[in-house]
Amino acid sequence: MLSYLIKRLLLMIPILFGITLICFIVINLAPGSPAMFQEELSPKASPEAVQALKKLYGLDKPLHERYINWLKMVFTLDLGKSFVDGRKVEDKIKERLPITITLNLLSLIFIFIVAIPIGVYSALRPGSIFDRALTFFVFTGFSVPTFWLALLAMIVFGVNLGWLPISGIQSIGVEKMPFHERVIDYIKHLILPVTIMSFSGLAGMSRYTRSSMLEVLNQDYIRTARAKGVPERVVIFRHALRNALLPVITLLGLSIPGLIGGSVIFESIFSIPGMGQLFYSSAMARDYPTIMGILLIGALLTLIGNLIADIAYFIVDPRIRVKRDV
């Protein structure tokens, strides 16, 4: 276990460097510098003022020097100051991160709870109406633009039926409400975003569970179990499902970047003050340090998610403890 963990962590180091490098390249190869951006805002700014501004932001130094400086800052967990309001980037991210992580975790849990029973059920009855409905749902889930689905849901449940709020994560004046009402208010605000965020993940996961389950059900050990008279329920849940769920763990890990990336769209649609929304507004304002910081954090979250998935896989599946090609 320990040697596997160490090997796995060592493998992350080159990837981490690659991530910082790409963050840096992306932001710096772009032509619009913040100084130029300021210039656009006030065309009367003198060249000296622009130069001073560049110096202030460290933009007058050559690229590699800036990269090394930035890297030093990153490793001391200092992500610099925002160009927009001069606040520390790590503070800005810190206050937004919990909301985004909460939303993502909720949708992962939702996906897990809903998709697995669906997948198992349709694997047990391949070709049935339920199974076909699942196939239909899977194709819809992969093809529908989720932000459109969000709009439709807002029109139906928010505007027409008026059941659910369509923006923000709490109502105005929520502080004055008693605790249980506040919780209900919070939940009401989360229902739409979480369901819509989970939609394509649900489709993918249930399809995956289904095919994984179908594959396992054809294995010899399942036939053996049935042959020796193990009750069907035990065969399905103890013998088959446990093995079928193994690859699902990996898929959960792999779905993290998509979820985090999607938060940009969902948070801006539902006006949720999370990291995605911060990223969007920073991108619009060309706020270099904040963008770099969020890109970096997004990639780190993905890495951590994959690490957790790998470790979980390692713990659950004794076979890979013997030999695993990483």
């Binding site: 690659g18 194709f139 439709l152 940009v264 769209i265």
Partner: protein, 279 residues
């Protein structure tokens, strides 16, 4: 082989429907200026936000422009981005995957590490960062979507090349002195073509989804140029009064992407022997 595959696809009625819809939407995109009932840029202040009617089947937008005409013109943008981004992703992925699989060793480790790094980014973050810094234009969008979508193709091609390069016909080619370049492009890759075509079909749909999302955020195709995501973005602003702005472009995106996915799925089933026994 090709005939067999075609017959298999045509037998699948969903795939057939998808194929027909793809032809339809390509036709609409090419002849948009003849098909559209109105000029998609023509502003009419007397017909602002009119609900669907006989004159304007999809209604009008906040500037009185005909939404149907704008949806028809939007097909052009979406298909252009979809196909070209796919081309860039497939080309990059195939070349890098082939190099990694064929040469192995250091080249393989470097390329696969790059794949790992690229896969650790939430794709939308990366795209958004780049698009936000450059002047948003349809070409930048294509390139960025293409360059963030090649990793799966690279992995796929690498795996194919790894297994193909040990086969007798490759050894034979090497024995008669064929160059590595020739072996990769003339002997190995043609044998890995079907999985690549399948991936390409799916990636057109994926690219269209990303483009519409970007245009929806205002970082894709810039108004007044009509795009499906762009109309939806206006639909969001008028969500309480004009549902038609949110409905029709979304259906267009959905059906187009669905068609590519259905065809891709049928292609996979038709070309992958492992799927022949299923269903």
């Amino acid at each position: 082989m090709f005939k067999i595959i075609l017959r298999r696809i045509l037998k699948n009625k969903f795939a057939l429907a998808g194929l027909i819809f793809i032809f339809f939407i390509v036709f609409v995109a090419i002849f948009s200026s003849y098909i559209a009932p109105y000029d998609p840029y023509k502003i009419n202040v007397y017909k602002v936000l009119e609900p669907p009617s006989k004159e304007h089947p999809f209604g009008t937008d906040e500037l009185g422009r005909d939404v149907l005409s704008r949806v028809i013109y939007g097909a052009k943008v979406s298909l252009k981005v979809g196909f070209l981004a796919m081309g860039i992703a497939i080309l990059t992925g195939t070349i890098l995957g082939a190099l990694a699989g064929y040469y192995g060793g250091l080249i393989d480790s470097i390329i696969m590490r790059v794949v790992d790094v690229m896969l650790s980014f939430p794709t939308l973050f990366l795209i958004l960062a780049v698009v936000a810094f450059l002047e948003p234009s349809i070409y930048i969008i294509m390139i960025v979507i293409g360059l963030t979508g090649w990793m799966d193709v690279a992995r796929l091609v690498r795996a194919e090349v790894l297994s193909l390069k040990e086969r007798e016909f490759v050894l034979a080619a090497r024995a008669i002195g064929a160059s590595s370049f020739r072996i990769i492009f003339r002997h190995i890759l043609p044998n890995a073509i079907y999985p690549v075509i399948v991936a390409a079909t799916f990636s057109v749909g994926g690219a269209i989804l990303i483009e519409s999302g970007l245009s929806f955020l205002g970082l894709g195709v810039q108004p007044p140029e009509p795009s499906w995501g762009g109309i939806l973005s206006i639909g969001k602003d008028y969500i309480t009064v004009a549902w038609w702005l949110s409905l029709f472009p979304g259906i267009a995106i959905f059906l187009t992407v669905l068609s590519f996915n259905l065809v891709g799925e049928a292609l996979r089933d038709a070309t992958d022997p492992r799927h022949w026994t299923e269903d």
